[in-house]
Subunit: 352 residues, 2 copies
Amino acid sequence: MSEGLNFEGWSCPLPLRDHPNIVMGHGGGGKLSAELVEHLFLPAFADSGAVDMGDAALIAVGGAHLAFSTDSFVVRPLFFPGGNIGELAVNGTINDIAMRGAQPLVLSAGFILEEGLPLDQLAAIAHSMGVAARRAGVTLVAGDTKVVDRGHGDGVYINTSGFGIVPEGIDIGPTRAQPGDAIIVSGTIGDHGIAILSVREGLEFGATVESDTAPLNGLVADLLDETRNIHVLRDPTRGGVASALNEIARASQVGIVIDERNLPVQDAVRAACELLGMDPLYVANEGKLIAIAPASDAERLLARMRAHPLGRQAAIIGRVTADHPGLVAARTGIGGTRIVDMMVGEQLPRIC
Amino acid sequence: MSEGLNFEGWSCPLPLRDHPNIVMGHGGGGKLSAELVEHLFLPAFADSGAVDMGDAALIAVGGAHLAFSTDSFVVRPLFFPGGNIGELAVNGTINDIAMRGAQPLVLSAGFILEEGLPLDQLAAIAHSMGVAARRAGVTLVAGDTKVVDRGHGDGVYINTSGFGIVPEGIDIGPTRAQPGDAIIVSGTIGDHGIAILSVREGLEFGATVESDTAPLNGLVADLLDETRNIHVLRDPTRGGVASALNEIARASQVGIVIDERNLPVQDAVRAACELLGMDPLYVANEGKLIAIAPASDAERLLARMRAHPLGRQAAIIGRVTADHPGLVAARTGIGGTRIVDMMVGEQLPRIC
């Protein structure tokens, strides 16, 4: 307790010393975020026995295995086409839990409110949290509210944390991709990011693009009912499909090859990305998942996905290879191949 | 998902309509906070099956009972005498879990960082979180980092969530106080609040007052080793001992009588409170607990508390009565009796 007032003597762990202060990119889910976890948080938390700070941790309790996850939401604006920060916060943590193959059970909600926030906005946000939780079959059981002075927040920041039960015999995680596996995405990519960008910047791209925010636990339950032989599940949020696949390639020490022509992208999202010089592979999703499973099961899983309301536009987008471990390559529309790297920072700040 | 952009039609539930916007007092742990939970959050979350949003929820998982809790920390300054926001965040959620009689097992950490935060400060904060978690025997297993634009945060906000296992046969909660029970506090009150206030306002009260931030799970384990017949445990944080006792009196529908002469208060804290016109009963603590148990066990529990490093100045401060249910009364130093009400807002904003 003696180190309270004193942070002298602390320096930035390398390679963070190149950036002595936090920059927006540290929250982008790309290389800077990964450096912060690897070089700052993990060494600090290792004292407590921390070994990994992935999307959802697996905890053995009695005879059960729980998947436990946390996520804070700072999206702006608070209300956007297709959703608001409240349902985004509920669905986001549900999805992190579901990506371990777990059935989410309970959530907590921690609010940081800014002085002056209209209570009708808070009531609308809280209501949609309750609706989202019920839709996913999850109960909001614990809460906390703090208030910060006007000018020290942005209306509402929400943390949701929660856990679910991993069914017996399920072993799904980012290290389990294997050469020969197929890569399936559950639907169109980039919807959430473009929805936020369009309302934030007042842009029009023909049709209104709505956020895809949705709880994926029902879809995951269907997939596991089809086969338990799924290796990896991942919701490609911040940093998009490209960042998610890069993390999986590194964690599993495998190569990944995708075919850009097979990527499902809404016309309006494609148009917006072309206009803005953005790549849909890097744009955030909030209601999509990537499933990686043996190629022999891929068609069955694809059919099962397409039978679910949240998976109608699912597609097989690539495969796992033993070549170039740690790297993601893409066959482009004109027949070439490019490396799909992880972004350093982010394309769009405050996306979730 | 269709209600995304639209919060028209939402109005403030009564009695919140008197305050159409969030004010600092909504985060103070007093009447305004309670109204927000009762009239806004609980009705909204009831859709999901929520029935209570207490400090830690009890969840049955397989054969085990878990206590699950969340807390966000927005204290300023980030570093203060006796601690910093990091160890406060770790200890705070550990204590909420411990107040159900549970042994905390794992914690998550969600960071909202402000652009421009020096990384050496973040490294110091993260380090002390690791140390605090190890001290309490808890593992930090899941994390999340978001970054907000300069001017939309205050350096660091931290959410911690976590759960622990409630031992078989333990039933501790705020509704269980019974007439005839004794009320014990584990040490001097008001230390944390005065420590924050002194450094924030640059005040001197003779000796430096240090925050009492500490993990109470070890002390709770000792008490439960002495007797499992403990009815209520409570850490009197925001709103102090007065607010905690009011909440217990209401939840248990009992009266509470305390004797102010028995309240342990450090000289420097008493001096600061007199100078500032504050009542130590309302000042926050971050390493103290209130235990309520049958009077016949009180002396044993008191002795056991005093044998623990965090309970050396423990004292029996009052008793539970069947009179005036829902109210807390105090015998004053000059022999009178006064009602100790819950505060409307708060004495000190941003205390935790």
